[in-house]
């Protein structure tokens, strides 16, 4: 269910925005040994590991069902004295189960929003977005997502752009800025930042769901440099250039044919980025990067859909400048995110 378009109609979005407090959780929350986990278990909600789920519930844990319109009817059937603002008392959270709760960004963290996007080579040589017919679940192409649409109407079609976040600690983002920048200065992206960006955020498997950071062996080659393109008292501009060769080399069969690879993958993006730094405020004000290149093989770790041959895959990075809760979601999967800042991992 999750993000399935059959659920997320314009009408449903409006209904939820007007009448409900919306919260996104992970399946780990149901096992938390704290007030959150207890609330989930007491209410009767069950969070599956794959596919996601929708639930409607009151602040004191009474289930209202799984359909927004029906939930609203049930909500309104509750005596108004129990529904009024302030009628329910929710106590303090108390000790948090830090083994299962999602980590939060440490103070001073620079947060960058990412979106992953699978494209197809268009006949005119450009890029086009993927459709369900492009995504194969077997090597013959008989089992495409378009074919599966009959079994799961409105649930399986084109992959949406997949969000994620990159975090840079204060020391890491400060390391990107030379002490005395001069136009024309060129230097490698510091190793800790390069390692983070490449292994956590150039993993193409994230385009179709949660994945793990790449192992060091999966990085065949990579290079990223920063060039100072402007330096004044008001602004320092940096251009990022780079490339990466990740996973396996393109097998000859996928170079020249319609064959897909469900058992391996490779990705060879080029990177271009524009960063801006305000020396007076000592903050980055722009952090735009594009990674774009050919990819082959499976997309994601869940169902291993693949596109025929070599096809483009892009990743867009941009600075988060608001404090919306949704922008504080940790990078990657909830549990591996605990080791995000550990350079030895």
């Amino acid at each position: 269910m999750g993000r399935a378009p059959r659920f997320w109609t314009a009408e449903t979005v409006a209904l939820i925005k007007k009448n409900f407090v919306a919260v996104s959780v992970s399946n780990y929350d149901q096992n938390r040994q704290d007030a959150v986990g207890q609330f989930v278990r007491d209410s009767g909600m069950k969070f599956p590991g794959a596919g996601g789920s929708h639930w409607f519930v009151t602040a004191n844990g009474k289930l209202l069902g799984r359909n927004p319109k029906e939930a609203l009817v049930r909500w309104k059937a509750i005596p108004s004295s129990e529904r009024a603002p302030g009628a329910v008392h929710v106590g303090e959270l108390g000790p948090v189960d830090s083994k299962r709760a999602a980590p939060t960004p440490p103070a001073g963290t620079l947060i960058v929003k990412l979106h992953y996007r699978a494209f197809m080579h268009a006949k005119d040589g450009g890029l086009r977005y993927v459709t369900g017919a492009d995504l194969w679940h077997d090597d013959s192409g008989k089992k495409t997502e378009a074919a599966l649409e009959g079994a799961y109407p409105g649930a399986i079609t084109t992959p949406q752009a997949q969000p994620d976040h990159m975090w840079l600690s204060r020391a890491e983002w400060q390391s990107l800025m030379p002490a005395k920048p001069h136009k024309g200065d060129k230097f490698p992206v510091p190793a800790a930042v390069a390692n983070r960006l490449i292994r956590w955020h150039l993993n193409p498997l994230f385009v179709y769901g949660e994945a793990n950071p790449l192992s060091r062996k999966e990085v065949r080659a990579a290079e990223m440099t920063l060039t100072v393109t402007a330096a004044s008292a008001n602004v320092v501009r940096l251009r990022l250039d780079g490339f990466a060769r990740l996973g396996k080399e393109f097998p000859p069969a996928v170079k020249t044919s319609q064959r897909v690879c469900l058992d391996q993958w490779g990705y060879e993006p080029r990177l271009l980025g524009y960063l801006e730094y305000d020396p007076r405020k000592q903050v980055f004000t722009r952090f735009d990067i594009v990674a774009l290149g050919d990819h082959f093989g499976r997309l994601g770790i869940c169902d291993s859909a693949a596109r025929p041959g070599r096809q483009p895959l892009g990743i867009a990075f941009e600075l988060v400048t608001n404090d919306a809760p949704a922008e504080r979601i940790p990078p990657g999967r909830t549990i591996p995110a605990r080791t995000y800042f550990d350079a030895t991992k």
Partner: protein, 84 residues
């Protein structure tokens, strides 16, 4: 997340027809266009239009204070609106 996608609605189809740039176009002149092209397009991911909280306890407190019920969306491996 397995069943994740978008229907090829009329709105989204109009957007789908827009791309014309290629990987070789990644340069200063087309950087902004490619950056936009990768990001979510209008009508593609309507769930992104919702003002999500990501903490269930905070959601309970807000719901109680405002006199509203809670909508919970769960994901596997990560929070439902994250890399899930």
């Amino acid at each position: 997340m397995f069943h994740r996608g978008v229907l090829l609605s009329g709105v989204f189809l109009a957007v789908l027809s827009a791309p014309a740039l290629s990987e070789q176009d990644l340069g200063p002149a087309n950087f902004a266009a490619l950056h936009r092209q990768i990001k979510p397009q209008p009508g593609e991911s309507r769930w992104m239009e919702v003002p999500w909280l990501i903490d269930l306890h905070e959601a309970r407190q807000k719901a109680a204070a405002e006199g509203k019920p809670i909508f919970v969306m769960s994901g596997g491996g990560a929070t439902a609106i994250g890399p899930c």
